[in-house]
């Protein structure tokens, strides 16, 4: 059972721990810096991505639990050839080959192996614990990569990376806006998969085009890795065949709009969402902050609200701000309003850990 939660916010990095009975914030670091992603690796090394307003994106690394930090290498895009034409397909603006955000960090199968997803769409790989990074050129140079477009951000980005627990050569990624891609040979070759995903916000001929979809977040069941869930821009989708086919789930309450999703590590039919009203109303419906849960693969949903504010709460929960621990019992989520909640019973009851954090960008049990 996890007793530590890592929290990245608009203004720093926090460690929340449970001692005896209560969860509390025990450590604050990198204060003033926006923290867009974090990871504790197999050696208990902390990797934290910051997005400095003036000086760009950096990685910070700590081997002593966040007390001291070093500056390892940061993923770097290659020199853009003068003749290169790389335009955002919607805006028709030039895509900068420049690291704009670190949006996902995951451990690979091997010791010291890390994967890093970024804006404007580069996937990076490290085999030395983050001392150096290599752009995955097979994906970056894939001709269909140029179909990816920015969504809420100005540039496309890789927000979800899933290394298959049963076959480490199988790696899946989620892209906003670019659908779900998979490699079955450790990253040498990539293809887009996503039959069944539906986009409401494109011309009719593109509605079912898997390469332009906007999955806000993709998660994979650890014990049944062919079972994946997506919180998409306009709905919830589920796959039971490793992402080749997706089924839209239309029973979610109070809405199917949101950013975050979590799946139980051993029960692939059980998933959680934190809904907002809809695309142009990004806050909790009726001012009541709730979590929705399905235990039957999306046939039905429960609305969980015990311990959550039910009056004038307008929190939004970003895509990396909901997490579940390895037991499947503990869940945590943080909001744009700086609220942080933890449940120890799969969402039936929630306790507020803080109401005064900066806007929360990511949470992760460690």
């Amino acid at each position: 059972m996890s007793h530590q939660l890592l929290v990245g916010t608009r203004k720093g990095f926090f460690i929340v721990e449970k001692h005896s009975k209560d969860w509390e914030i025990n450590h604050a670091a990198l204060l003033g810096n926006p923290v867009t992603m974090l990871l504790k690796d197999r050696d208990d090394t902390l990797h934290v991505a910051i997005e400095h307003g003036h000086y760009g994106v950096k990685l910070k690394r700590s081997r002593d639990g966040g007390q001291t930090w070093d500056d390892p290498a940061t993923p770097q895009y290659p020199a853009k050839p003068e003749t290169e034409i790389d335009l955002d397909p919607i805006r028709q603006t030039s895509l900068p080959w420049d690291l704009k955000r670190i949006w996902s960090l995951e451990c690979g199968a091997n010791q010291n192996e890390l994967w890093c997803g970024t804006l404007p769409g580069g996937l990076f790989h490290s085999t030395d614990g983050g001392d150096s990074w290599q752009l995955v050129e097979s994906l970056w140079n894939h001709p269909d990569r140029k179909l990816w477009a920015g969504g809420g951000a100005d540039y496309p980005g890789i927000h979800s990376i899933m290394v298959d627990p049963k076959d480490s050569n199988t790696i899946r990624i989620g892209v906003s806006c670019g659908g779900v891609w998979a490699s079955f040979d450790g990253g040498k070759k990539w293809d887009c998969h996503g039959e069944g995903m539906r986009a409401e916000y494109v011309p009719p001929e593109d509605v079912y085009n898997p390469k332009i979809q906007d999955p806000h977040r993709v998660v994979q069941c650890k014990s049944s890795p062919d079972h994946l869930w997506i919180q998409h821009h306009n709905g919830i989708f589920r796959s039971t065949d490793g992402g080749r086919h997706w089924k839209e789930i239309e029973t979610a309450r109070p809405s199917a709009f949101g950013f975050a999703v979590a799946v139980h590590p051993r029960k692939p039919d059980t998933a959680w969402f934190v809904p907002g009203v809809r695309d142009d109303e990004r806050y909790a419906a009726n001012g009541e902050l709730v979590v929705s849960r399905t235990n039957d693969g999306g046939k039905s949903f429960e609305v969980l609200r015990n311990g959550l504010p039910q009056k004038h709460a307008y929190d939004l929960v970003y895509r990396h701000c909901l997490d579940i621990d390895e037991t499947g019992d503990h869940l945590a989520f943080g909001s744009t309003t700086g609220n942080l909640f933890i449940s120890e019973d799969q969402g039936d009851h929630w306790q507020q850990i803080s109401g005064f954090l900066p806007p929360v960008y990511c949470v992760r049990f460690a």
Partner: protein, 89 residues
């Protein structure tokens, strides 16, 4: 020798001591400085080697003109100052 110094705001992020460097352009100045202080490069320049959007480089009181190729000329005793723009905070 041109004199290069940085805002204290940047020294909070990474070590960037001031230095006197023989150089006739900003590009030469930065290349020599970054060879000694490689961590500073990506705080000042982006992945394509251009001055970051929210960083200012001032030579003898004036903003540099060529933020892309850093071709602005230096005088023998130029004062070069790197600091954060008001934007980007």
């Amino acid at each position: 020798m041109a004199h290069l110094s940085f805002t204290a705001n940047l020294s909070r992020q990474t070590a960037c001591p001031e230095a006197d460097i023989p150089a006739t352009t900003i590009a030469q100045l930065f290349n020599q400085y970054f060879s000694q202080w490689p961590e500073v490069r990506h705080y000042v320049l982006d992945d394509q080697g251009e001055v970051r959007k929210h960083v200012r480089v001032i030579v003898d009181g004036l903003n540099i003109q060529d933020r892309r190729k850093l071709s602005d000329k230096l005088r023998p005793k130029s004062e070069v100052f790197v600091f954060q723009a008001l934007s980007g905070g």
